[in-house]
């Protein structure tokens, strides 16, 4: 996360850290059910073997030295069948739900954001020298409607309808490498709902180049069917 701030420990209890089998963080993800994690498909490019990955939950520090940390192996990987940058991980055993580990809410199928919502992204990714490395950082910014985001001065038609943009028009704060797969959540009344999976961007925190997130509401039927059938 570029700029933003270090979050209150365990205030984003659905954020997971996707790691190599040796424990090296490389992507984020979100707990959507005690045994299921949503992440980006591009985070799973290096290996198609579930044993190559580990999911860390309940952590604030990247070092994962807290006693609240749960480390769970991955049982199965499910990439979206049409090569959209979204994937599901089934954990070998359910995460223990406690004050440090709580699933996020998913949006209603095909629900849309109006382009004014205040949303938040979190992660342990690159900070581009803005500090807070090693801690779970957060930053907030509005969602930008695709009509605006696809203007020539923004992302010039690169944003597909199954994606959404979010960021500050001036840049300055953004998600970045290492935050991929993590959540973009928006407050709906008193609950956080995951509307995006961190996917791609043109650089990080550049003016007029907001981050691009996979639009979760488009994939609710797929998520539901994978979870029900597995």
């Amino acid at each position: 996360i570029v700029a933003g701030c270090i979050s209150h420990p365990h205030s984003w209890p659905w954020q997971i850290s996707l790691r190599t089998s040796f424990g090296l963080h490389f992507c984020g993800g979100t707990l959507i059910d005690p045994q299921w994690v949503l992440t980006a498909a591009h985070c799973l490019e290096k290996s198609s073997r579930p044993s190559a990955y580990k999911v860390y939950l309940g952590l604030h520090r990247e070092r994962a030295s807290e006693s609240s940390v749960q480390k769970i192996d991955v049982e199965k990987l499910f990439k979206e069948p049409h090569r959209v940058d979204i994937a599901l991980l089934k954990l070998k055993s359910p995460a223990i739900i406690n004050n440090h580990v709580i699933p996020v809410c998913l949006p209603k199928e095909n629900s849309v954001l109006g382009g004014r919502e205040e949303c938040y992204v979190t992660g342990w990714g690159d900070t581009k020298g803005t500090g807070g490395d090693g801690y779970l950082k957060e930053t907030g910014f509005p969602v930008i409607e695709n009509k605006i985001c696809n203007r020539p001065e923004f992302l010039n038609g690169k944003v597909k309808s199954h994606e959404l943009c979010a960021g500050n028009i001036h840049g300055g704060t953004d998600s970045c490498q290492g935050d991929s797969g993590g959540p973009l959540v928006c407050l709906d009344q008193d609950k956080f709902v995951q509307h995006g999976v961190t996917s791609w961007g043109l650089g990080c925190a550049q003016p007029m180049k907001p981050g691009v997130y996979v639009r979760v509401s488009n994939y609710i039927p797929w998520i539901r069917s994978v979870m029900e059938n597995n």
Binding site: A3, G4, C5, S7, H8, P9, H10, S11, W12, P13, W14, P34, S93, P94, I96, I97, N98, N99, I102, P103, V104, C105, L106, N110, V112, L113, G114, G115, R116, E118, Y120, E138, T139, G140, F141, P142, V143, E145, N146, K147, I148, N150, S161, H162, N168, H170, G172, T173, V185, L187, D188, Q189, D190, K191, F192, V193, Q194, P207, R215, N218
Partner: protein
């Protein structure tokens, strides 16, 4: 009489599919219109003209009655009188489709002889539009359009045709009522029924998400009249637009003519920030980072389209901060080449409005509540200072702290002025503070006297702390007090070396494993769960029988720790 084309409504880039048509070759649209006027084979309601081929096609049908396709080279001209569902004067040129009398009796077809044998027939009055059983006024009746009725007892009766008013034009959606088909300013108030883009594509309905998914819904843009698939300008664009039904063209501007009347006199506007500051008309011309604003009429150093000409009603004067496009607050292009545009810091009107509210009628009478009950969710008093004496920020203000505790998100929380409230069921009333360094604080309020407290049912317990007497997973986190093995043997104290000596699993070697007393524990992550050394000299250790915890009940998306919600905007 002006141009013959004045009687037609023009639509570029479309083609309509009709059965009755006649081909001609003409040099221009005017000649084609003359062909339409002179058409004898059928009633000409419209014509298509293709400039490249000089092709003129007179048509018996118009866009109200048949299919429309996009076709880049052609232009459709529809005779206005056939699009009107209202009458002008006595309605002699009324060509609408009303076919009932004012009493609701169906009209007889003009060409039929029963139940009444008419004197006025299509043959005798070929130019009177006596088609089907539509109400007409072929004989200049001062009472307006009429028809022979299908009731044998009533030979004829008048129809109830609404009057056309001034420049008002009614289109096919007769139930929508008359609508003005021109726009003033940037068409933000345009409520007309045009539903095609400038290239002739049909608009997608605003309440549809196909073929284009979008966020311009009624919910997100209330008050923007996003009905049907009509062109609108909900977001400060140059002019009305719509998403199109073409999968390859997400959205496009519509061609809405400008009204000939001059734009309305500008409202007086404010000198302070209220809401998003769209009505700010002050003279601040410096951005929040200290850059000087570029003149709106200048294209240097930043080229842009927010010019006074493009936005005639937005008071883009000099280089003053303005919000012509529904941004969060007034802004301007800056004279700094590296900062294209920035927001401005405009003092809030909150104080002024607060004073005004105080003198409002009885409904605004201020409630005096010096204490709160329960967690203060129902507190409706007017305290507006925190425990450390900081003044509260108004809930509808985003300065100095941006937040999402707004009255539209929490409509029942009474987020008025800057009064302490508890919209999120925190432990007591709180507010965002006006101190930029302190986002929020609890308020300087006491809990009401317990004796006076009303006992309310407690909300369901939502704690997620594990039940100490059951285990999750392998029970590594088990911290309960079971001290017997599954076979009933008593556990040995972890600090003791008798009867079994053990160096490895002690409170000193595993300080985080909870090795207290002789309670069952799982310091080594044994997959079979907690265990203990036993007091039976014959059995060194044994598993304990501790029940599995039921699946935790949780509320998704709700953290037990409040977020910072930090945002650098």
């Amino acid at each position: 009489k002006g141009d013959v084309l004045d009687d037609y409504l023009r639509m570029d880039g479309v083609w309509i599919l009709t059965r009755n048509k006649q081909f001609y070759e003409t040099n221009n649209e005017i000649e084609c219109a003359e062909k339409c006027e002179a058409e004898r084979n059928f009633t000409c309601r419209a014509f298509l003209y293709t400039r490249k081929k000089l092709q003129c096609l007179t048509l018996a049908e118009n866009s109200k009655t048949t299919l429309i396709f996009s076709s880049t080279d052609s232009v459709l001209y529809e005779k206005r009188i056939y699009l009107l569902q209202c009458k002008r004067g006595i309605g002699k040129d009324y060509r609408g489709t009303e076919a009932k009398t004012w009493r609701g009796i169906p009209c007889q077809k003009w060409a039929e002889k029963t139940p009444h044998n008419p004197n006025i027939t299509p043959e005798k009055y070929p130019s009177a539009g006596l088609e089907e059983n539509y109400c007409r006024n072929p004989d200049d009746d001062v009472n307006g359009p009429w028809c022979y009725t299908t009731d044998p007892a009533i030979r004829f009766d008048y129809c109830n045709i609404p009057e056309c008013e001034g420049q008002v034009m009614q289109t096919t959606e007769a139930t929508e009522g008359p609508t003005v088909d021109c726009m003033i300013c940037n068409g933000e108030d345009y409520h007309g029924n045009v539903s095609r883009t400038e290239s002739g594509l049909e608009c997608q309905r605003w309440d549809a998400q196909e073929p284009h998914m979008h966020g311009y819904t009624l919910k997100h843009f209330p008050g923007k009249d996003l009905k049907m698939n009509y062109c609108r300008n909900p977001d400060g664009e140059l002019r009305p637009w719509c998403f199109t039904t073409s999968p390859t063209k997400r959205w496009e501007y519509c061609n809405i003519p400008r009204c000939t009347t001059p734009p309305p006199e500008p409202a007086p506007g404010r000198q302070c920030l209220s809401g998003r500051g769209e009505d700010y008309r002050g003279t601040i011309s410096v951005t929040e980072s200290g850059n000087t604003c570029q003149h709106w009429s200048s294209q240097s150093p930043h080229r842009h389209a927010r010019t006074p000409e493009n936005y005639p009603c937005k008071n883009l004067e000099e280089n003053y901060c303005r919000n012509p496009d529904g941004e969060k607050m007034p802004w301007c292009y800056t004279t700094n080449r590296t900062a294209r545009w920035e927001y401005c810091t405009i003092p809030s009107c909150d104080g002024v409005e607060q004073d005004t509210a105080a003198v409002d009628g009885p409904e605004q009478a201020q409630v005096t509540e010096e204490c709160y009950r329960g967690n203060g969710v129902s507190y409706r008093g007017t305290t507006s200072f925190t425990v450390t004496g900081k003044k509260c920020q108004a809930w509808n203000s985003m300065s100095p702290h941006r937040h999402n505790k707004t009255s539209d998100r929490f409509p029942n929380a009474d987020l008025r002025q800057n009064y302490c409230r508890n919209p999120d069921a925190d432990s007591r009333p709180w507010c965002y503070t006006t101190d930029p360094g302190v986002r929020w604080e609890y308020c300087n309020l006491k809990k009401c006297d317990d004796n006076l407290q009303i006992t309310l049912p407690k909300p369901p317990q939502t704690t997620l702390e594990p039940d100490p007497e059951c285990i999750n997973g392998n029970g590594k986190d088990y911290r309960g007090t079971v001290a017997k093995t599954a076979r009933g043997r008593t556990c040995q104290d972890w600090r003791s070396q008798r009867p079994h000596s053990h160096d490895y699993f002690t409170p000193l070697t595993h300080p985080e494993a909870g090795l207290e007393h002789n309670y069952c524990r799982n310091p080594d992550g044994d997959v079979n769960g907690p265990w203990c050394y036993t007091t039976d000299p014959r059995k060194a250790w044994e598993y304990c029988d501790i029940p599995k915890c039921p699946p935790a009940q949780y509320e998704c998306g709700k953290s037990k720790v409040k977020q910072k919600l930090c945002a650098q905007r």
